[in-house]
């Protein structure tokens, strides 16, 4: 098993003809994801040249794409000004998962898009996230397929490359993953740590979880509490940003310490207080997981 994406995922790529959209569509197809449609307004009727002569039909709108192909998920690679609208369009078209890769989406736009997606019952991942990969099954987003391998560990992270760093250690140590989820670095994200933890809790194949947080907000603290209250499998945590100064945005729009709130220190403390082993370095994650899995 896996969470969010698997062999049943039928994906539409929103912004399939753009630079990032087209590149990652090929990557996703190469990994084996069923990319069944693309959407680019004004290019409906054209065909995206996929791998080995497999063409992906392009539609003007999500509702056509879903109606024609039975798609159940979408990946959003459209520019920031249109990304929240693309999420709304996807949710309205009835897909159950919308993975918003785009970075720099206006936060007030996303407040509305998240509300709309909730009303429509669609899960949003991101925005400003690397997406999700279920090793050996499907990937939606930009996580490199060659660093993951199937196995019993679920990975949740606010970050992109830091996730790769953690996952490659797992893979190199022979520890595979059920699913790796990048929940995104923005202040308003559709799926937070607790949401992802709940999904992993329902996944029989996930035996341990790696949770990679960073400064800003209190999502990690709430997740730690949730782990303590509800989760029966072990969790290993890591927090980035111990050396970040307060009041400065560290790349991610959500990675900012406001006053005394959102520091790495308080997050690591919350982890420890709730029985989550904290890795001091990314390189330590694999060892800690090995420990909890064999315990």
């Amino acid at each position: 098993m896996a969470i969010f994406v698997d062999e049943a995922t039928r994906l539409v790529v929103q912004g399939i003809t753009g630079r990032d959209g087209s590149f990652h569509t090929l990557q996703m197809m190469e990994y084996g994801t069923a990319v069944v449609a693309g959407v680019t307004p004004g290019k409906g009727g054209q065909t995206f040249e996929g791998l080995e002569g497999v063409g992906v039909p392009i539609f003007n709108s999500m509702d056509e794409a879903v109606a024609e192909t039975g798609a159940n998920a979408s990946a959003v690679y459209v520019p920031p000004a249109f990304a929240a609208g693309a999420v709304e369009e996807a949710a309205d078209a009835g897909v159950s998962l919308v993975v918003a890769i785009t970075e720099g989406v206006p936060v007030q736009d996303m407040a509305r898009a998240h509300a709309f997606a909730r009303d429509r019952g669609a899960r949003v991942l991101g925005p400003n996230c690397p997406g999700v990969i279920s090793p050996g099954k499907a990937k939606v987003g930009i996580i490199p397929g060659n660093i993951v391998t199937p196995g019993p560990v679920g990975v949740i992270s606010r970050s992109g490359t830091l996730t790769y760093e953690a996952v490659i250690h797992l893979t190199n140590a022979g520890i595979g993953q059920t699913t790796c989820v990048g929940i995104g670095g923005d202040p308003l994200i559709g799926t937070n740590f607790v949401d992802a933890l709940e999904a992993f809790a329902d996944d029989a194949d996930t035996e341990a979880i790696v949770m990679i947080g960073e400064i800003g907000g209190t999502d990690e603290q709430e997740a730690a509490q949730w782990v303590s209250d509800h989760l029966e499998i072990p969790v290993v945590g890591f927090i980035a940003g111990q050396t970040a100064p307060p009041g400065r945005r560290m790349g991610h729009a959500g990675a900012i310490i406001s006053g005394a709130s959102g520091t790495a220190e308080e997050k690591m403390k919350a982890f420890e207080d709730n029985g989550i082993s904290v890795a001091k370095r990314p390189a330590d994650i694999a060892g800690l997981i090995q420990g909890v899995l064999s315990a």
Binding site: P106, M110, A111, L188, G241, R248, G251, G254
Partner: protein, 378 residues
Amino acid sequence: MNIHEYQAKDILRANGIPVPPGEVATTADQAVAVAEQFGGTVVVKAQVHSGGRGKAGGVKLAATTAEVREHAENILGMTISGLTVEKILVTPAEDIDTEAYVGVLIDRKSQAATFMVSAEGGIDIEEVAHTNPDAIRKLTVDPRYGLMNHQAYWLANSLYENAGLAKQTAKIIRQLYAAFTSSGASMIEINPLITTKSGEVKAIDAKMSIDDSELFRHPELVEYRDLSAEPAAETKAREADLSYVKLDGNVGCCVNGAGLAMATMDLVKYYGGEPANFLDIGGSSNPEKVVSALEIITSDPNVKVILFNIFGGITRGDDVARGIVEATKRIDIKPPIVIRLTGTNEKEGLEILAEAGFTAFSSMDEVVEQAVKIVNAG
């Protein structure tokens, strides 16, 4: 993007909120001229992107022209939280009866704009939230409905029993929400919102941040950016579309991805070094961006070693390698460069580096240890 008090007040005024007049001065002479124009007692206020201006001596009452000159001379050039005061706001002193706090910001948990108001004005809202949360009334605005009229009253009623004051305040709160949405703000604080003895409600101080991602919609707000309030290197980084934050250490860091960049800084510290900066070259990096990144890092004289930590995903190893080689040709880079490069197009990247005489590590720990060793040896 933080903007200055006087700029925030312009936005509030444009949305109809009663804000006393005020003018900005950059010299004591100008300040005196402005004060004379208003007549009576004025307040001279440092315009810097920092809280605690009052405590730092950056806000002074001046009853006479001589006092205006004296305060203006003292405040201009003053350093507050590391920032030099280059502008002061001169504004008439108000006949304050009570002070309250009214703020609105994007709240992560409720995923929406959230108001906080408190009858304890002139305070640090975070402080009050910790010590006396009951003194704050909080309201999350459902983005589907916007701020409703009765909600504005619900907030205002918690500040004033007097119906006239509550009515004025409810209107100000609606106008504040309009300012918040129409300017793409992530935070606006009116602190304090005052009542005068004659029964008027006014905003006499304001703090405001604009969501950087909204700026493309608001070219007029881009003009509000105060370049003098940030290091030149950060301005250059923004123009090159790089995320850069200057720190006090000597290990210059160049990383792809914000999370990995923070983790790299932390690892520098872990191995006994001090990072000189946060720098994320972003996802779709190209060689030119790497050149800009190196220019920015080397503009910091503290930097004793330059550490690349690249885990290729979208970022391609060969692009980064080409950028490094190109930069060493174009600019005279003094500090040694240590490189970790793995992931997408790793092989091609390593070949390019090898050709130019660089060797690269494949693990993050190794490269960080090496960088720290260099500075400690240096």
